[in-house]
């Protein structure tokens, strides 16, 4: 494949960022928005072309004669060479998962660009918003096509930086500012682990390159044999640390605390970043390095356990939130955790790593319906000017398009056939059951909770009781409705894609067999969840309040997200600030500054003391001159003798 089109996929968003960032303020809002959207539209077409070429062209570059999909490096420019082996390159890797991401990211990004034309209309800094969106799209695309782990790290950080800019877009709101700081600091902290992991890995394997690492992990790690650190092999440490980076970006416990706060950003941004793209970076990272993780079974188990705990935790918390965007945020955490669990449960001996395929499948479908839900939430917020469901209710009468599309999203995430979420979630459950019944039951429970909390929100917003609206809510303009409708259609049919043909471990084609037992269980559980939600929330009643009162402590704890933020605040403010920062600050102020001040005082005193040298009398000048010359000679002579 020619390198021009892949290069353009990266170059257009970057160019658009520079254009809008530098010249945007000179443009009208409309021009900037349309330019940004058109640029993303072009990227959409180009990346669809690239992905379809990869999947369907049958080019021997991409698919072997035996029907195995290959990893293909379109270009790989050497950028920085540490040693002959250890080279940082910037390139474009095309394989099943990156081709799939080339469909997901531009689709969602384009929808968000289009949607924002209406949603962000008239906001101050509209051009800046589009510039940041372009920067984010560029970083995310660069991340998924990275040919080596260091390139991935570079774009990983760029994603973090651009999400910081987008979350803090309303920089006059203190809450947005602190949310963006929190997101940046937490993910950056996690990335520290990522970087250390990369350094360990590259030190022992002498390569950054994904293909070298993943094609034969055994050979790449030959030199690590026997190297241990604190009871674990260095490789385990490296992989767990690399996963830490993924935990940060994908908001796994205990690094999830930034994601709910990140909802302070504009809602389309939440749809783009916190539903479909950035938060799946962690999943993508594990999938990208999967063969390496497979070589270290402990690290995969770690992924599984972290994912399972996060999934349950987030689902419980989501049941008690008032802000609909927060519900969606916790639902995202929970769904991402599904993908992680699925990866963690994938083993070659169980259906040829079904979990790997299922995880990517769920990533794909989830991106679509979660973006739909977020954009739908955006439409609601736009209509009633509040994030809280207490300000909403009975909206099905006023906003039919939003109602239907949101319902489709809820059905998809709940896992009701034939909507997209059912198919992918079913595959995940099959994969988890085949690995371990315990975790299978666990995840089934979480799936039921998912259906419950999503329909809780749905009923509370669109049915329940109607509050007094200051002005009649109505559906949004076409730039906002069209993305909703498109995404809703996709959410209906995406599950029918024979995903096993396209994205599987090692590129072999895999025929999906429905496991009707598991599917039946998951449908039943989901329906039960929906029914409970319906009983509690369809019409206004006091049952929910009674239930909450009956175990008030649990409800309060869940409402406060089990006090994770408080724990972090305690650790940072009380322990780190008092125990470490204060002594350091004292040392800095007293010892270091004191020394410097001392130097300054001495300098000043010296300057004052010698001021009379410059007497203004030329006789003295000449005298000093002569004495100086003589002293120079005498001292030199004396030293020599």
């Amino acid at each position: 494949m020619d390198f021009i089109i892949p290069l353009l996929i990266l170059a257009i968003p970057l160019g658009m960022f520079l254009l809008l960032g530098l010249a945007g303020m000179k443009m009208s809002h409309k021009l900037a928005g349309v330019l940004g959207t058109l640029g993303m539209g072009t990227v959409l077409v180009l990346s669809y072309f690239t992905a379809f070429t990869y999947f369907f062209s049958g080019n021997p570059e991409f698919i072997s004669e035996a029907g195995v999909r290959l990893q293909s490096v379109i270009f790989n420019q050497e950028w920085l060479a540490f040693t002959p082996n250890l080279v940082i390159s910037l390139g474009f890797l095309l394989d099943p998962i990156s081709a799939m991401m080339l469909i997901v990211i531009p689709t969602i990004s384009f929808m968000v660009h289009l949607y924002s034309l209406g949603y962000m209309h008239g906001e101050k800094g509209f051009q800046r918003y589009y510039a940041f969106l372009s920067l984010f799209s560029f970083s995310m695309l660069g991340l998924v096509v990275a040919t080596n782990i260091f390139q991935m790290y570079i774009f990983w950080e760029l994603v973090g930086a651009s999400s910081y800019l987008l979350i803090g877009f309303f920089y006059t709101l203190p809450s947005a500012v602190s949310a963006s700081k929190k997101a940046f600091i937490v993910t950056r902290f996690a990335d520290l682990g990522f970087l250390i992991g990369i350094l360990i890995l590259s030190y022992y394997t002498q390569t950054f390159d994904f293909i070298t690492l993943t094609s034969d992990p055994g050979a790449a790690f030959a030199s690590t044999a026997g190297a241990t650190f604190m009871g674990g092999s260095v490789l385990t440490w490296a992989m767990v640390l690399i996963f830490t980076g993924g935990m940060g970006k994908s908001a796994m416990m205990p690094l999830h605390i930034w994601l709910p706060d990140a909802m302070e950003g504009p809602t389309p941004v939440s749809a783009l970043i916190h539903a479909a793209t950035m938060v799946v970076a962690g999943v993508y990272l594990v999938a990208r390095m999967f063969p390496v993780y497979l070589a270290v079974p402990f690290s995969l188990d770690f992924v599984l356990v972290v994912g399972a705990i996060t999934a349950l935790y987030a689902a419980i918390v989501a049941c008690t939130q008032i802000d609909i965007k927060r519900v969606l945020a916790f639902s995202t955490i929970s769904q991402i955790a599904f993908m992680m669990v699925s990866l963690g449960a994938a083993r070659p001996e169980f259906h040829e790593c079904l979990g790997y395929m299922a995880s990517m499948f769920h990533l794909f479908t989830h991106a679509m319906f979660k973006a739909l839900l977020f954009l739908g939430a955006g439409a609601l917020i736009h209509a009633v000017h509040s994030n809280n469901y207490t300000q909403m209710g009975g909206l099905h009468k006023y906003m039919p398009i939003t109602n239907i599309t949101f319902l489709i999203g809820c059905l998809a995430i709940a896992g009701i056939p034939p909507f997209a979420g059912f198919w992918s979630k079913d595959e995940i459950l099959v994969a988890v059951y085949s690995y371990s019944t315990f975790w299978g039951v666990w995840m089934t429970l979480v799936a039921g909770l998912t259906a419950f909390y999503m329909f809780r929100v749905y009923f509370l917003v669109f049915w329940w009781n109607e509050p007094e609206y200051h002005h009649r809510p109505h559906d949004s303009e076409w730039t906002m409705s069209v993305p909703l409708i498109i995404l809703a259609c996709v959410s209906v049919v995406a599950g029918l894609i024979p995903f096993g043909k396209f994205v599987t471990w090692q590129g072999h084609e895999y025929i999906i067999h429905m496991n009707w037992v598991v599917a039946g269980i998951s449908i039943v559980v989901a329906v039960i969840g929906i029914i409970i939600a319906g009983v509690l929330y369809l019409r206004e009643n006091d049952r929910p309040k009674c239930m909450a009162d009956s175990c008030r402590w649990l409800w309060t704890a869940a409402h406060h997200r089990f006090y994770w933020d408080e724990i972090y605040l305690f650790i940072t403010h009380k322990i780190i600030f008092n125990g470490i920062c204060r002594p350091i600050a004292w040392f800095d102020r007293r010892i270091i500054d004191g020394t410097m001040d001392g130097f300054a005082i001495v300098t000043n005193k010296a300057s004052y003391a010698i001021r009379n040298l410059q007497s203004g009398r030329v006789q003295n000048y000449v005298l000093v001159y002569l004495i100086g010359a003589l002293l120079l000679a005498v001292i030199t002579a004396w030293c020599l003798a």
Binding site: R611, Y625, I635
Partner: protein, 481 residues
């Protein structure tokens, strides 16, 4: 005598031609045409400056039985001085239009050219007789230039101080030379070099070297031969001050390098390395300590230029080709940075008469572009990246360290600490211009075209010389590294 050997002195002859043309124009031009004397001088000198870059000029040549010689290094340092002189001549045009000066403005340009001729001789001579002639040619007209504002008391006082110290310094220098002659029986550089190497060390030689260092150190204003500097810089008209501080200093630095590293090369390790070592520490430190306290901008820059001279001397410390290149580069960058500062001072002085640092309070609000230029100049003088001053300091430190002894590391460390001290007082100016809430007396004004042009050139130099690597690389090539 073979008169064709005058042709070996291409730059000297060219400069004399420029001088004569300016002199003739100034003498015979009508009263109206005399107003353009400055531009005529600038134009002619610009042509001559371009001529200096012809490849034939830098070919090695010798004349007068080896008393005069030139080569690529010497031609290059002369070119660097030419560029600086050209900027000063452009900057001086506005000043020279003032009533008190206008009647004598031709003399200013003529004396600039003449002193420059003396500096050429200092650089190119291979014989101390010629060297002294060059030195005096470069010194005595300067006294007249310092006294150019003869109606101002400070100007006259400065001239008197300058001439007295200069005469004394020449006497010491000549005494040192007579010792040298007594020891070696020759005034030719190469023969002295051989004789010193053969004769070994003696007290007489040490005294002679100390006196020679005093003589040239006077022109460089090295401590303790520097005391005249502040009074003269403050009293002299600003164009003369800038001429003294960059051109005169740059030429003396190169002459110093030649005298020490070629004539007294044999005494390097035992004698003058340690003398220079002490002089550098004294110069940088005392220059800095005095600069901290100054309230008058010209006096402040006088002490700053003393300490800068100390840094320039670091290029001599290693006595190597690398040091020569670093020294030339430092002088080049120093010319641009210091002339930017003096250009701003001159513009403000011409328009408002203010020269005190307090007058610069709030300059950013009234004259943002001048304030910005001044800030660039201060940053460059302080050696803040990415401005040229950072690179020149970096290269001169590198050249000194390449010599490799522990003592040199200590010296460079002291120089580095002094860089921090210097940062303090350079930033004082920036603070006054940008941060100070008080408003000084300088109102918004538009400086003349010639001043602005000169400042643009300086700013381009400050921004470009460091980042565009070809300048330093070509200097390295010329120095033969």
């Amino acid at each position: 005598m073979d008169y064709s050997q005058f042709l070996a002195m291409k730059q000297e002859i060219g400069l004399l031609v420029v001088f004569l043309l300016v002199f003739l124009y100034d003498t015979f031009a009508s009263a109206r045409a005399a107003g353009a004397t400055g531009w005529v001088a600038v134009g002619l000198f610009a042509i001559f400056t371009l001529f200096g870059f012809c490849p034939t000029v830098s070919e090695p040549a010798e004349a007068f039985a080896g008393m005069y010689s030139t080569n690529a290094v010497m031609a290059t340092i002369k070119n660097i001085l030419n560029v600086g002189t050209l900027i000063i001549m452009i900057q001086a045009i506005t000043w020279a239009k003032q009533d008190a000066v206008a009647i004598r403005r031709g003399e200013f340009y003529e004396m600039v050219l003449l002193t420059l001729f003396g500096m050429y001789l200092m650089i190119s001579s291979r014989h101390f007789l010629l060297f002294v002639i060059g030195l005096e040619t470069a010194s005595l007209p300067l006294a007249a230039m310092v006294a150019f504002d003869k109606h101002r008391y400070e100007s006259r006082e400065a001239a008197v101080k300058y001439i007295l110290t200069a005469v004394f310094s020449s006497a010491i220098f000549l005494m040192g030379l007579s010792f040298v002659y007594g020891l070696t029986g020759s005034l030719y550089f190469d023969r002295i070099g051989i004789a010193v190497a053969e004769g070994g060390l003696s007290l007489m030689l040490i005294v002679a070297i100390a006196f020679v260092m005093g003589g040239i150190g006077f022109k460089l204003s090295l401590v303790p031969f520097h005391l005249w500097t502040a009074d003269v810089y403050q009293g002299a008209p600003t164009p003369v001050t800038s001429y003294l501080s960059v051109i005169s200093k740059g030429a003396a630095a190169m002459a110093f390098l030649i005298v020490l590293c070629q004539v007294f090369a044999a005494a390097y390790a035992d004698v003058w390395e340690w003398m220079l070592y002490a002089l550098i520490i004294l110069t940088i430190t005392i220059g800095n300590l005095f600069a901290m306290r100054q309230k008058n901008m010209k006096r402040f820059l006088a002490f700053s230029s003393i300490s800068q001279a100390g840094y320039i001397m670091l290029g001599i410390m290693s006595c190597s080709e690398l040091g020569t290149a670093a020294l030339m580069y430092y002088v080049l960058v120093y010319i641009f940075s210091n002339l930017a500062a003096f250009g701003v001072i001159g513009a403000i002085e011409n328009n408002t008469g203010c020269v005190s640092m307090e007058d610069y309070n709030g300059l950013y609000r009234t004259n943002p572009r001048l304030a910005f230029t001044m800030m660039l100049a201060m940053f460059s003088l302080a050696g803040i990246p990415p401005f040229a001053g950072f690179f020149s300091k970096f290269f001169i430190f590198t050249s000194a360290i390449s010599q490799g002894s522990v003592a040199i590391y200590v010296l460079v460390l002291i120089a580095l600490i002094n860089t921090i001290i210097s940062l303090y007082y350079y930033l004082l100016v920036v603070k006054a211009m940008y941060i100070s809430q008080e408003q000084g007396p300088v109102a918004t004004f538009r400086s003349s075209g010639s001043e602005r042009f000169a400042l643009w050139v300086c700013v381009a130099g400050i921004l470009g010389l460091g980042i565009v690597s070809c300048f330093y690389n070509s200097l390295l090539g010329i120095a033969g590294v």
